[in-house]
C-alpha cells in the first residue's frame, strides 16, 4: 500500500475525482472540504501526505500549512492551488511545504511529488528510529 493522503479543497468535485484517481493507484486517499475538517482529521487520523488548496473560505491553506507544521512536522505538505502567485509559492516553501503546483496539475507530476514526499518520510523514520536496531544489551543486529 502507498502513502496515506488527505486532500483539502473547497471544490468538492475536484477533490473527489482526484481522490478516486489516487485510489486507483493504490494510494489510501480521503478528502475534506475546509480547514477545520482538515485539522480535525490530522489530529484523529494523521495522513503522511497532505495536499491542500490555498484559497478557501474561512481557514486558508497557509493557515493549515502553519498549524500542521507546528503540530505534525513529519507530514509532507503539497500545495495545489488555482491562483497562487510566485510570492505565495516562496512563502509556502519557506513555511515547510514539500511541493507547490498550480491547477490543473499533471497527475504524473503530482504522483512523483507524492512518492518523493513519502520516501522522505520513510528516510526520516529510519534516521530517527535507530534505537530499535540497537538493543540496550547485546550487539547490533542488522
Amino acid at each position: 500500500m502507498g502513502p496515506r493522503i488527505l486532500l483539502v479543497d473547497d471544490e468538492q468535485e475536484f477533490v473527489q475525482t482526484l481522490a478516486e484517481r489516487l485510489q486507483m493507484r493504490d494510494m489510501e486517499t480521503s478528502a475534506v472540504f475546509d480547514g477545520p475538517a482538515a485539522l480535525a482529521q490530522v489530529q484523529s487520523h494523521p495522513p503522511q501526505i497532505l495536499i491542500v488548496d490555498l484559497k478557501m473560505p474561512g481557514m486558508d491553506g497557509i493557515q493549515i500549512l502553519k498549524q500542521v507544521k507546528q503540530t505534525h512536522p513529519g507530514i509532507q505538505i503539497i500545495i495545489l492551488t488555482g491562483h497562487g502567485s510566485e510570492q505565495d509559492k516562496i512563502l509556502c516553501m519557506h513555511l515547510g511545504a514539500f511541493a507547490y503546483f498550480q491547477k490543473p496539475v499533471d497527475i504524473d507530476r503530482l504522483i512523483t511529488a507524492i512518492r518523493q514526499g513519502y520516501e522522505t518520510i520513510l528516510s526520516n523514520e529510519q534516521k530517527t528510529a535507530p534505537c530499535d536496531r540497537y538493543p540496550e544489551t547485546g550487539s547490533w543486529q542488522p
Binding site: E11, E13, F14, T17, K55, M56, G82, V105, I107
Partner: protein, 224 residues
C-alpha cells in the same frame, strides 16, 4: 469600440484587476475539474485495455455529464466576464441596476464566498434604471459588496452572514438596498474620497435603509 474617453482611474483598474483575478481563479478550478474527469476516463480506459475490467457505461456517462457541467459553468463565467470587459465601451446611458447587480454578484461570487457570506438578490418590482456609465455603476456595486463583507467579518459572532439585495419600488427614484443583520459600521460607509468620487460619478448617494439594518444607494436629484 466607440471613441469616448472612458479610461478608468487607478481605482477602477484595481477593481478590474480584482474581478479578473477572481474570474481566472474560477476558470482554473473549472479546468482542474475537467482535467481530473478527463484523466479519470483515461485511467478507466487504460485499466480496461490492460485487464479484464471493462468500462462501466454508467460511470462513463456520469463523468461525461460532470465535464459538460463544468464546461457550462465556464461558458457562463466567460460570458459574464465578456459583458463586464465591454462595460468600459459604453458612454453614459440608461443602465438597468438589477442587471448590473446580478453581473457583479456572479463575477464576485468567489470573493463573497471567501468571506463566508450568503448573498440573495431579490427581483425588482419595477424597472430600476439610472443614467450612468456601466463600468462606474458596476464598480460602485462591487464596493458596496466589499463593504458589506467587511462589516459582516467584523460583526459580533452571532451575526448571520447573510445579505439580501433588493430594489426600490419607485421607478423615478431608483435605489439598490443591501440588507444584513447588524447595525454596526454603516455610518462610515463610502467615507473614503475615492468612494465619494465614485458615488458622484454615478450620481448616487448612500442612506440608511428605511426598515431593517443596511443601506441603500439612491439616485441623487440635482437642484436646478
Amino acid at each position: 469600440m466607440p471613441n469616448h474617453d472612458l479610461s478608468p482611474d487607478r481605482n477602477g483598474v484595481r477593481f478590474f484587476g480584482t474581478l479578473s483575478a477572481a474570474v481566472t481563479h474560477d476558470m482554473k478550478n473549472f479546468l482542474a475539474i475537467i482535467n481530473e474527469n478527463a484523466g479519470l476516463l483515461g485511467d478507466l480506459a487504460g485499466r480496461a485495455r490492460n485487464g479484464p475490467v471493462p468500462i462501466d457505461p454508467q460511470k462513463a456517462a456520469l463523468i461525461s455529464e460532470k465535464i459538460r457541467k463544468q464546461v457550462n459553468r465556464a461558458d457562463g463565467m466567460i460570458k459574464q466576464f465578456n459583458r463586464f470587459s465591454h462595460s468600459m465601451d459604453h458612454a453614459q446611458e440608461a443602465v438597468d441596476m438589477e442587471e448590473m447587480v446580478h453581473l457583479v454578484a456572479g463575477l464576485s461570487e468567489r470573493i463573497i464566498r471567501h468571506h463566508e457570506v450568503f448573498l440573495t438578490v431579490t427581483a425588482a418590482s419595477v424597472p430600476c434604471r439610472i443614467q450612468a456609465h456601466r463600468f462606474d455603476l458596476l464598480h460602485l456595486i462591487f464596493r458596496a459588496f466589499e463593504m458589506v463583507c467587511e462589516i459582516l467579518d467584523n460583526a459580533p459572532e452571532d451575526t448571520r452572514k447573510e445579505v439580501t439585495v433588493n430594489f426600490g419600488s419607485d421607478p423615478m427614484g431608483p435605489e439598490i438596498c443591501f440588507m444584513y443583520d447588524t447595525d454596526t459600521g454603516w455610518d462610515t460607509l463610502f467615507d473614503d474620497p475615492k468612494d465619494r468620487a465614485l458615488l458622484d460619478r454615478v450620481n448616487m448617494h448612500v442612506k440608511k435603509a428605511g426598515t431593517g439594518s443596511g443601506f441603500c444607494l439612491c439616485k441623487t436629484f440635482k437642484k436646478q
